[in-house]
Assembly symmetry: C2
Homo-oligomer: 144 residues x 2
DNA sequence: TATTTATAATTGATATATCAAATATATGAA
DNA sequence: TTCATATATTTGATATATCAATTATAAATA
């Protein structure tokens, strides 16, 4: 009925938005007042505390200005604490607080469960194929 | 900088954002100051002028409140004009202005070209498969 | 060293996202 | 008709997205 080329991006958009909503709801059962992106930032900083704000921005595919404001908010919420890095006073050291770590621990299994539900009945091969096609699109868009 | 382990949702997110950026750039070569979503709204209203704001919101997968503000802006930019509908004074008739129609005409081939580039080297079957997988995910998320 | 250039982060302006509450109008039931 | 409920839209508050401009510091170079 529909022509895929005309609706693929619509479906992609719909999927990502639906997943965000779904995640948010499940998050809220365990932890108050955290978004999917904030959780992702906590994760990155926990794994690699040396990251700069700009590096994180790139990792989570956001603008530096957005990151500034998100980090600021996360500091205000006491998920993170921030101090100037003496070796380079333009940058900050950003650390998870104990509250931040606690949140991360609570959310990790929720994420796993979210993915499990999202991908129920879908084989690894099918997901790999999905990634492959999306990466082709990405390559097309970046190399023209 | 090293590339982090990517999840499917990360790739989906990255794809949609990259496509939005790509579209925006190509739009700006032809028309000033219009976003992908605004173009989509013009398209829907051109095809189905009887749509209410809430119906459009659902079609473009946005909140009613966002739609109010977007329509407002598009009226301010003279893409649209709006008048109260006498049969139901809660609703509006929203029409494209000649400027709105002109923009739509200019952008239609750009969209086609954008898709062509995005999907270069990808078969219809592959795209259909992509849709299929995404729809499975959507069904999973909506039925749990 | 002094000056230029680059980098990290912030700020300002404007648009959009989201949720809750409010407003206006329509519809249905008592 | 009158009251309760539903619907369409708006508004307010707060967060995020985007672009351009600014600030502070570091690095490069004349």
């Amino acid at each position: 009925m529909e022509i895929p080329a005309k609706t693929v991006f619509y479906t992609i958009e719909r999927t990502i938005k639906t997943y965000r909503r779904f995640s948010k709801q499940n998050f809220s059962k365990v932890v108050n007042d955290i978004t999917v992106d904030q959780k992702l930032i906590l994760q990155y900083l926990n794994d690699r505390p040396e990251l700069s704000q700009n590096e994180i921005a790139e990792l989570v595919f956001k603008d530096n200005a957005s990151l500034t404001r998100m980090i600021e908010l996360m500091v205000r919420k006491r998920f993170l604490k921030r101090s100037i890095r003496p070796e380079d006073r333009r940058r900050f050291n950003i650390e998870l607080t104990s509250k931040g770590k606690e949140i991360l621990e609570k959310l990790t299994p929720v994420i796993a469960e979210n993915r499990k539900r999202a991908f129920a009945g879908i084989t690894e091969e099918e997901l790999a194929q999905l990634q492959l096609t999306l990466n082709k699109i990405l390559t097309n868009l970046n190399h023209t």
